[in-house]
Every structure is written in structure tokens, then in C-alpha cells.
């Protein structure tokens, strides 16, 4: 079989059947004998001192097993970046919906009722909801004594209500302003977006008779959960086993602890398994969501359309606790220049505490907000310079050898080719303009996350292969891609490979499923593990075949001598031989960290993340029609081009792109978690509007392949960029259609109509 037969071929998902047939086990499916159900009591105030908690009445309710309040739980503060989060709010509550107490009872209804019976005396404190206000002089401090918090990530810049700040500068902005012919300034603001996965957070924990914690959870990152639990529970990590269930959607919302620690503590207290499953409204008021953001951009250009300089300020509202906020702010900073050459720049990106729930990771974090701002701003500049938006972008596009804002030398820059390709499939240059219809363009450059992945490939006694990994496939298709990669390396049909996503006991370490990192990093790990296995197989076969190991090759499940092909042994014989007669069970293993260039830290301050090993590129053209009387926007066509580096599974790639575009479309047009002060007014999916299948416009996708030197076969991630594109593309298309520039999302009919009316009034 020729090489490259498996990579790049459409391949049906390895988890497809069990999901379609209903035998996949998700978080809510876990049930255990004697299991208790848990519920938490949420703060009804956004900012309040907790004076007194009285659980007496609740405890008396029949069926209640235990109630924990802040004083009953470990007095540790945990956090992914800043250790600012108590297990349960003790002296004060920092957002409405923050857990103050947890109940375990024999039935979920009883736990719910008991939580309502807990009496709490509060003393309301002055809240702050707006990140700009939170920075102001007299703003209430949300974390008194924040200086004393430990940090999990080095180099964070923190002060007042700021829990993280990334500053990047380059060139000489002052000189840049002097050299600019024209200067453009804009302010953008973006809403809070809910992840909207179907499967709620669901966790079941139990302690075995040896005092070992086992926990089943629907998560994207089993090892991250184990680490946080170790810290909170005060247990060595080898006494905790985190078992990831099948995940019914994650999108970044299941990377961190949500209620795992509550279940573990209640299980320890009661000696029973404890389960907790969140309701939609709890998910929408307690767990994370996409950061709302305010972005100021100021750009200086030459008359001919060359960008000279840019100043950017991004304010990410991170809510009551830091979460991943400092990192999200860093990603926003890294994305705000877009894929454009900018000689001079100054970027300041802050993660600010407010009295709202803790915002954190959501697909394309930081980049989605920055992408909307940057690309809307670019469009405006092009229009005002009377340049075609495509030409203006091409004029400024970066290419191989350029330096990123963070000081990395760019390679495998895929944006030119992607842009050419999207221009072609959308027929951009010949696009037809008719009344109230318009076209918008948007580009994106984002980063993927590196960090460690490891893999284990086992040769079974019968010669079949088993891949064991700790990277969760939360629906994006990674297990399928990894099976393909192993199949490619071992020259075996991919459907003969079994993939097991193990738990923290059985799988080798992986950092987690987020940031477009699994195909890239775990792909590399699988290649390495396969090569490790082959070395062992060749050395075993060399003895049996009496051929030098260097002469051997693996073809069609046979190991044979390249020069002497009749000298051959099947994997089955070899496995049998080594298991039973030669004292070895061949096992390939690897642990990899993709090579990356460090950021130029003299230019980059406060970024808590390790530097990215690769950038991702995509661009999009959107055609809309606008009903001027109602403000209703109809997306007629989407043309999207994505650079995959090297496409491993075209089916999965396209699925990721389509799904991501729909998520981006929802963000662009409808989705917004609405706050009235600190209260979410639409914590349900009737009032929070996500698109339905019927709302999907025609989407045409093209994929380019600019090989990434450090990715598996040149591949890079494709999951995040699709979400970055639609908002700006649609906003730009609306401008093209009806002449209004909307700088605030979502682009609801109401907002569009309002803008049209304002524009009409201004013209008068």
C-alpha cells in the first residue's frame, strides 16, 4: 500500500457508531448504587458579605445526608492562573450564582429543596459590573488582599481589579503616528457568549475503601482536573483517578473544575458516591462563558493603504474570579494586529475583575473578540481609503520571514493562499452588488496551543494495535485522526486500530483538549510512539529473520527485508513470538513537546502562556441581505477558506469548519448572555438564542495546505479560526449593503435598525 493513502482520505469517525446507537456513556448517564445527589446554594447577590449561614432547617429535611459550607471545606484558594477562588464563598460572594453551600441528599429533589431551606444573612456590598468602571479610582475592590494570592502562572501583572495584563510593543509608535497620513480610531464591544453544549456538566465521585478518589466527569482535560482536585482535596495525585466520560460538547467550557470538587468533598464526607448535574440556568450563571470585551483601536496608515502603526487596548471582563482571564487577554493581544505587517505598535490587554460569573475559555478565546474588532476596523480603513477590502488586506499581509507582534519569526504563513482561494470561490472581484445586499471579508491569524502530549501504542498478542491516550475527543474528531495517523505509520487500515481514551490512571499524560492542540501535539506523539514501536519490532524481527534491522520495513502488516522480500514475518507471528517466547510485549511510547520559538520577552510583558508552536489561518467572504425596515439580516452565502497545514481527515476538517462557522454565526447575529447589573436575565435556551439547523446559510468551504514544519505531516489545527470569522465578515457585509458600521455584537435586527435610523438622522 502506498504511503499517504490514509492521511488526507475521508474517514468515518471511530466514535460515530456508538454515539449514533446510543451506547456512548456521557456524564449524566453515570449511576451508582447508593448514590447521593448534590445541589449548591447560589448567592442571590452579586457582591455581598456573608454574615451568617444557618443550615439547621435544611439539615432536618428527611433524606439530607450532609451540608457543607465554607467553614467545612479545605481552606485553600485554587485557580488556573491566579489562586483566588475559594472552594465555597466564605466571607463574601463575588457574583450572583456563586456557590455558598453544597447539599448531598438521597434524591435530587430533596437536595434542591434543602438548598432552598438554607438561611443566609448577607450584607450587600457595592458591586461593579463594568470593566472600565472597575479600573476607575473609587471602584470597589473585588478581591481585597489579592497581592497575597499565589499564581499558577509566572509573570502575571496584577493590581487593583486587574488580574492579568499583557503588554506588547514594537517599533516606535510615536514615530509611526508622525509618519501616518491618516489615523483611524474605533471602539468595539462584544457580548458574553454561552457555550451552549447539549450535555450539561455532570460529575460523579466516590472514595474506594482504600481512600482513593474516583471521579467520573464530562471534561476536556482529565489531568487538569486531577491536578486541581489534588490541590483542593490535599491528596497526592496518585490517589485520584479522573475518568473522562464521553463529552456532549465542550468548546472550552469543560476544561476546568466546575463541581468536581463539590462531589469529591461530599463523597469523602458521606462515604457514598455523589453525583451532581447542572441545570441550564446553573450553567448560564455559574460556569464559564466567553468574555465580554471592550476594544479600542487606533491605526495610522499611509495614503496608499500601507499600515504604519497601531495602538490597541483590550478590556476583558473576567468576572468575579480570574479563571483563564489573564491568558485570554494575552491571546487577544496576540491576535489584535491580525495577519498584517505593522511596523509600529503598542498593545495593552487587561483581564479585569467584575461582579459577574467567572468567564473563561470558549472556542477561540481572546481571538474571537480581537478578530471582530481588528477586521471591522480594517474594513473601515479600506472603505475610507477607497480601496477594495481584499486589495487593502493583500497590501499589508504578512508572509514567511516576517516577525509576529510577539517577536516570533513567522513561517508557513498560510494566509495569502487562503485569501486567494476564498477570493476565487466567492468570485470576489466579480461580485454583484444589488440593493440592500452586500459582501464582507474577514481574515484571521490565531495561535494554537503546544504543551505536552504523550501516547502509548500496544501491540497485542495477535498483532493488532491499540492506541492509548489521555486526550479527550469531545466531538471534534481527534480519536479518528489519531487512528489514521497510527494507521499511516504502521501501514495498517485505520479501521483495524482501536483507540482508547484512558483515564488518569491508565493513560499517559496529556495537557488537555483545547486550543487546537490535539491533532497537532497528540498527532506528533502518536507518530513518535509508532516509530518507537517499530524500532522494537524491527529489532525483534531482525533476530528472527537474520536480517539487519536497518534493512527491515513494515508493509501490509508484514515486516520484511527490503532487499530480500521473501524474508518476512507477520505482525501476528512476531507478536506471538515476543509475547510467549521472547519475554517482551512490544509497546511504543512517546512524550513530546513540539519545538517552538520563544516570544521576545523584552517586547512582551505579562503573557502567562508558553509561546505558540504554530499559527492558524483562515479567511471568509459573506454575502448578506438586509431588510432596511426591520433591520433583519439574512446571511445568503458564506465562503470560507482554512489552512489546515495538511488535512488528515477531510470529513472531520469540514465538520469542524461548519460547526465553528455556525457558532460564529450565532455570536454574530443572536447570542448574548444579557446582564441586568449582576443578574443574568436570559439563563435558558428560550431567551438565549442560538441558531437552529434551519438558520444555517449556504456554506462553501475550501481548504489550503501550507505545511507547518513542526506539525504531524505538516498539519495544524482548524477548530478555532472558523469561530473568529463570521462576526466581522457579516458586520462588514452589512456595511456594504446598507452603509452602517456596527461596532457592537450581536448584530440583532434591533441593533441594525437602530443604526440605520441613527445614520438617517445624522444625514439630515
Amino acid at each position: 500500500m502506498a504511503k499517504n493513502e490514509i492521511i488526507g482520505r475521508p474517514f468515518a469517525r471511530v466514535d460515530g457508531r456508538r454515539k449514533a446507537c446510543g451506547d456512548a456513556v456521557y456524564g449524566p448517564d453515570i449511576k451508582m448504587p447508593g448514590m447521593l445527589h448534590a445541589k449548591f446554594l447560589a448567592s442571590p447577590y452579586p457582591h455581598a458579605r456573608i454574615v451568617h449561614v444557618d443550615t439547621e432547617k435544611a439539615e432536618k429535611l428527611s433524606g439530607v445526608k450532609t451540608i457543607l459550607t465554607a467553614k467545612d471545606v479545605p481552606q485553600v484558594c485554587w485557580g488556573l492562573m491566579v489562586k483566588d477562588t475559594p472552594v465555597l464563598a466564605g466571607d463574601k460572594a463575588r457574583f450572583m450564582g456563586e456557590p455558598l453551600a453544597v447539599v448531598a441528599a438521597t434524591k435530587r429533589e430533596i437536595a434542591e429543596e434543602a438548598a432552598e431551606l438554607i438561611q443566609v444573612e448577607y450584607e450587600e456590598l457595592k458591586p461593579v459590573f463594568d470593566p472600565e468602571e472597575a479600573l476607575g479610582p473609587g471602584a470597589p475592590l473585588i478581591h481585597e488582599g489579592a497581592e497575597a494570592y499565589a499564581c499558577a502562572m509566572p509573570g502575571l501583572i496584577r493590581y487593583g481589579n486587574v488580574c492579568g495584563q499583557t503588554k506588547i510593543s514594537g517599533g516606535d509608535p510615536e514615530q509611526g503616528w508622525r509618519e501616518s497620513d491618516l489615523i483611524f480610531e474605533d471602539r468595539f464591544s462584544t457580548p458574553v457568549q454561552h457555550h451552549g453544549f447539549i450535555e450539561p456538566h455532570a460529575v460523579t465521585a466516590r472514595f474506594d475503601s482504600n481512600g482513593r478518589l474516583e471521579i467520573w466527569t464530562s471534561t476536556q482535560a482529565i489531568f487538569a482536573i486531577r491536578m486541581a482536585l489534588g490541590e483542593i482535596m490535599g491528596l497526592p495525585l496518585n490517589r485520584i483517578r479522573v475518568i473522562g466520560t464521553e463529552v456532549g460538547g465542550g468548546f472550552g467550557g469543560k476544561t476546568d473544575i466546575t463541581v468536581e470538587h463539590f462531589c469529591a468533598l461530599l463523597a469523602r464526607m458521606t462515604g457514598k458516591p455523589v453525583k451532581m448535574q447542572l441545570t441550564r440556568s446553573e450553567m448560564m450563571t455559574y460556569t464559564s462563558a466567553r468574555h465580554g470585551c471592550v476594544i479600542h483601536l487606533k491605526t495610522g496608515v499611509k495614503k496608499d493603504g500601507k499600515i504604519v502603526t497601531r495602538e490597541a487596548r483590550l478590556l476583558f471582563d473576567t468576572g468575579g474570579y480570574a479563571g483563564h482571564g489573564p491568558g485570554v487577554a494575552a491571546l487577544g493581544a496576540n491576535t489584535i494586529l491580525g495577519p498584517y505587517r505593522t511596523p509600529h505598535f503598542k498593545i495593552d490587554s487587561l483581564s479585569v475583575y467584575t461582579n459577574k460569573m467567572n468567564f473563561s475559555f470558549m472556542r477561540g478565546p481572546g481571538g474571537v473578540q480581537a478578530g471582530f474588532a481588528c477586521e471591522s476596523h480594517m474594513d473601515r480603513i479600506a472603505r475610507e481609503l477607497n480601496l477594495d477590502p481584499l486589495d487593502f488586506r493583500i497590501k499589508n499581509l504578512i508572509s514567511d520571514g516576517d516577525t509576529s507582534a510577539t517577536g516570533q519569526r513567522m513561517e508557513a504563513v498560510g494566509i495569502q493562499e487562503a485569501l486567494n482561494s476564498v477570493a476565487k470561490i466567492s468570485n470576489w472581484k466579480q461580485r454583484k452588488k444589488s440593493k440592500n445586499r452586500g459582501w464582507g471579508l474577514c481574515c484571521c491569524q490565531y495561535e494554537l496551543v503546544g504543551m505536552t502530549s504523550s501516547a502509548l501504542v500496544k501491540l497485542s498478542e495477535d498483532g493488532s494495535l491499540h492506541l492509548v491516550i489521555g486526550a479527550i475527543d469531545h466531538g471534534q474528531g481527534s480519536s479518528t485522526v489519531l487512528a489514521q495517523i497510527l494507521a499511516q505509520e504502521m501501514d495498517i487500515p485505520a479501521d483495524q486500530i482501536a483507540v482508547t481514551v484512558g483515564d488518569t490512571d491508565t493513560a499517559p499524560y496529556d495537557t488537555g483538549t483545547f486550543g487546537d492542540r490535539v491533532t497537532f501535539n497528540m498527532g506528533n506523539a502518536v507518530i513518535e510512539a509508532a516509530r518507537d514501536l517499530k524500532v522494537q519490532l524491527f529489532s525483534g524481527a531482525a533476530a528472527m529473520l537474520e536480517s539487519p534491522a536497518e534493512n527491515l520495513e513494515l508493509v501490509g502488516q508484514m515486516i520484511r527485508d527490503r532487499d530480500n522480500p521473501e524474508k518476512a514475518i507477520s505482525l501476528l507471528e512476531l507478536a506471538m513470538g515476543s509475547y510467549f517466547f521472547q519475554g517482551g510485549a512490544p509497546m511504543g511510547k512517546s512524550t513530546v513537546l513540539a519545538p517552538f520559538q520563544a516570544y521576545a520577552y523584552e517586547k512582551v510583558e505579562g503573557n502567562p502562556y508558553p509561546a505558540t508552536p504554530a499559527h492558524t489561518y483562515a479567511c471568509q467572504v459573506v454575502e448578506v441581505s438586509v431588510d432596511r425596515d426591520t433591520g433583519m439580516v439574512r446571511v445568503e452565502n458564506i465562503y470560507s477558506c482554512h489552512d489546515a497545514g495538511r488535512m488528515i481527515n477531510p470529513l472531520g476538517t469540514e465538520g469542524q469548519i461548519q460547526g465553528g462557522i455556525m457558532m460564529g454565526l450565532g455570536y454574530a447575529l443572536w447570542e448574548e448572555v444579557v446582564f441586568d447589573g449582576g443578574r443574568v436575565t436570559n439563563p435558558n435556551l428560550i431567551d438565549y438564542k442560538m441558531p437552529f439547523a434551519i438558520n444555517q446559510p449556504k456554506i462553501r468551504i475550501a481548504v489550503t495546505e501550507t505545511k507547518t514544519p513542526n506539525g504531524p505531516y505538516g498539519a495544524r489545527g482548524v477548530g478555532n479560526p472558523p469561530v473568529l470569522l463570521p462576526a466581522a465578515a457579516i458586520a462588514n457585509a452589512i456595511h456594504d449593503a446598507v452603509g452602517v458600521r456596527i461596532r457592537e455584537l450581536p448584530l440583532t435586527p434591533e441593533r441594525v435598525l437602530f443604526s440605520l435610523k441613527r445614520e438617517a438622522a445624522n444625514k439630515k
Binding site: P691, N695, E750
Partner: protein, 287 residues
């Protein structure tokens, strides 16, 4: 969220249901398809001790045509309403309404009676039924009575139904020749409650509008007739200027509020536009 505890009662006849209702008073709640009532129970907005299910009453789901028009049993599902050949033939504008509501699953469960008795200002079946001059037949401990649907609603979630009373039938009278209607609904995505709903039924005479009824949904505590706007159009030859005027007047009759779905400002604007468009569409249909 789980349902709070309640006892389920399944009467077999309307009389039985009415007497259970009368007996338990405020402690009981009627359930038809349950697509509204179970949700508010889950949210703990109401906690009835008894849920009186109407499902077992076999003769409440029907659509019958007679000399006066059609009669629709209160338990008729939204799906059955949309699929009914006689409704499609006699009142196509009514048959179209359910397709603008909810999802397939909800339409299979939800009933016309439930939609009306729930009395949401945004209830989608109300505007066009009011325009068609529909009547509500009510059964109670003291027997039956019939009220105009226009007078059925008294406030958000409130109707004229008294203690022990059930809505049992909706009666839609035959319309004069050259009569047609249209219902336009503004919502955010396809499955959504109305931000604004505008129902119009016109009787046409040449290029003029001989008679007209306009009913607005989701812009007042109950669905309301836009009678001043009707007066602007009635008996006149329809042109764009007149429609513009009708839309403007209708928007002044609306008394909308701000909520998560839309602002009062936006609702007012949409009443203006949709009144105009609905009249145009209905006139077109009535040719």
C-alpha cells in the same frame, strides 16, 4: 430542573374535569399538552398540588366544518391544526400560523386551547383568530357559555375563565367572499416567541378594502385590535401612502414594553412595518 411534587388527575369527561377544577380551586391547574405549564412548574413559578390532565377526554380534539364555519376542539394540537384540510381550505391564514410556532415536537404536544388559555401576550394563534371573529366556547359547573375571543384575554396569563371553567372549543365563522388574512411574526431565530405578531384579515372589493381587522400580539398585556388603524384603511383604495399611515397609527395603538426579546422602541417600529406588509399580503391573497 425537576418538576415539584403534584398529584395527577385524569378526568374522562369535561363535566368531571370541571367539577375537579371547582373542587380544588387554586390548588389545581389544567394541563393540555403541558408545553407551557410544565415549564413554569419546573421554574417553580407555580406549584399546583393537582394537575388535571385533559388528555383522557376523548372528544376534545376535533376540527369540524358546519354551515356556520368550523369548530376546533380545545385539545387539537398545533400540528393537527396546520395539517387540517378544511382549515387549509377555508382559512389558509390560520393553517399557516402553527408553522411559525415552536418546533415539530412542541407542535405535536401543544394545543390550540393551551396556547389561548396560557394567555401569553405573544400567543401566536390569537391575532389571526381574533381577526377572523372567532369565539371561545367555555364549559363550567353552571353549563356552557360562548364569548368572543377578542374579549377572552384580560391580562398576561389571565383570561375570563372563572372557577371550574374550561375552554372547550374555538368557533371560527365563515367569512364573506374575497376575504383573506395574513399573520406576520417577528422573532429572532426560527424557534422563538414573537417579538411582535401582526394578524390582518381583509375583505376586498376591487382595489379597495371593504372590511378589515388588525390584531397585534406581544405589544400589550393582551393581543389587541388596532381599531384606529382599521378605520384608516376601511372602505378605501389601498396605496402605499395609506398603508404607511395605517402602520403609523397601529404603532401608536401598541403599548409595548422592553424585555429580553426586544425593546419597546423596536416593537413599535415593527408594528409599523408589519401592519403595512400584512395588509398588503392579505389584500394580495383576497384577489
Amino acid at each position: 430542573m425537576r418538576l415539584p411534587k403534584f398529584e395527577y388527575l385524569g378526568p374522562k369527561t369535561v363535566q368531571e374535569a370541571c367539577s375537579l377544577l371547582a373542587q380544588h380551586g387554586d390548588k389545581a391547574k389544567v394541563m393540555a399538552g403541558g408545553t407551557d405549564v410544565l415549564n413554569v412548574m419546573k421554574e417553580r413559578k407555580i406549584r399546583p398540588e393537582y394537575l388535571i390532565g385533559l388528555r383522557a377526554i376523548s372528544d376534545l380534539s376535533y376540527i369540524k366544518a358546519d354551515a356556520d364555519g368550523i369548530k376546533i376542539g380545545a385539545l387539537t394540537t398545533l400540528t393537527d391544526l396546520a395539517n387540517s384540510a378544511v382549515v387549509k381550505e377555508k382559512f389558509p391564514c390560520l393553517a399557516e400560523v402553527p408553522m411559525k410556532m415552536a418546533t415539530v415536537q412542541i407542535r405535536n404536544m401543544g394545543t390550540i386551547g393551551g396556547n389561548l388559555c396560557n394567555a401569553a401576550p405573544s400567543a401566536d394563534t390569537a391575532p389571526i383568530l381574533i381577526c377572523l371573529g372567532a369565539k371561545a366556547k367555555i364549559a363550567g359547573p353552571k353549563g356552557e357559555r360562548v364569548v368572543a375571543l377578542e374579549d377572552f384575554f384580560t391580562g398576561p396569563g389571565k383570561t375570563v375563565l372563572g372557577k371550574g371553567e374550561l375552554l372547550v372549543e374555538i368557533q371560527v365563522p365563515n367569512q364573506p367572499a374575497k376575504t383573506a388574512g395574513a399573520y406576520l411574526k417577528m422573532s429572532r431565530v426560527s424557534v422563538d416567541l414573537a417579538i411582535v405578531g401582526v394578524g390582518v384579515v381583509v375583505t376586498r372589493e376591487g382595489d379597495s378594502c371593504k372590511d378589515i381587522k388588525i390584531t397585534l400580539g406581544a405589544v400589550a398585556p393582551t393581543p389587541i385590535r388596532a381599531k384606529k388603524a382599521e378605520a384608516v384603511v376601511k372602505g378605501k383604495k389601498i396605496d402605499d401612502a395609506l398603508l404607511e399611515e395605517a402602520g403609523k397609527i397601529a404603532s401608536q395603538e401598541a403599548k409595548p414594553i422592553d424585555d429580553v426579546r426586544g425593546s419597546a422602541f423596536y416593537r413599535t417600529e415593527i408594528v409599523k412595518v408589519y401592519t403595512k406588509r400584512a395588509i398588503k399580503q392579505a389584500m394580495e391573497q383576497a384577489k
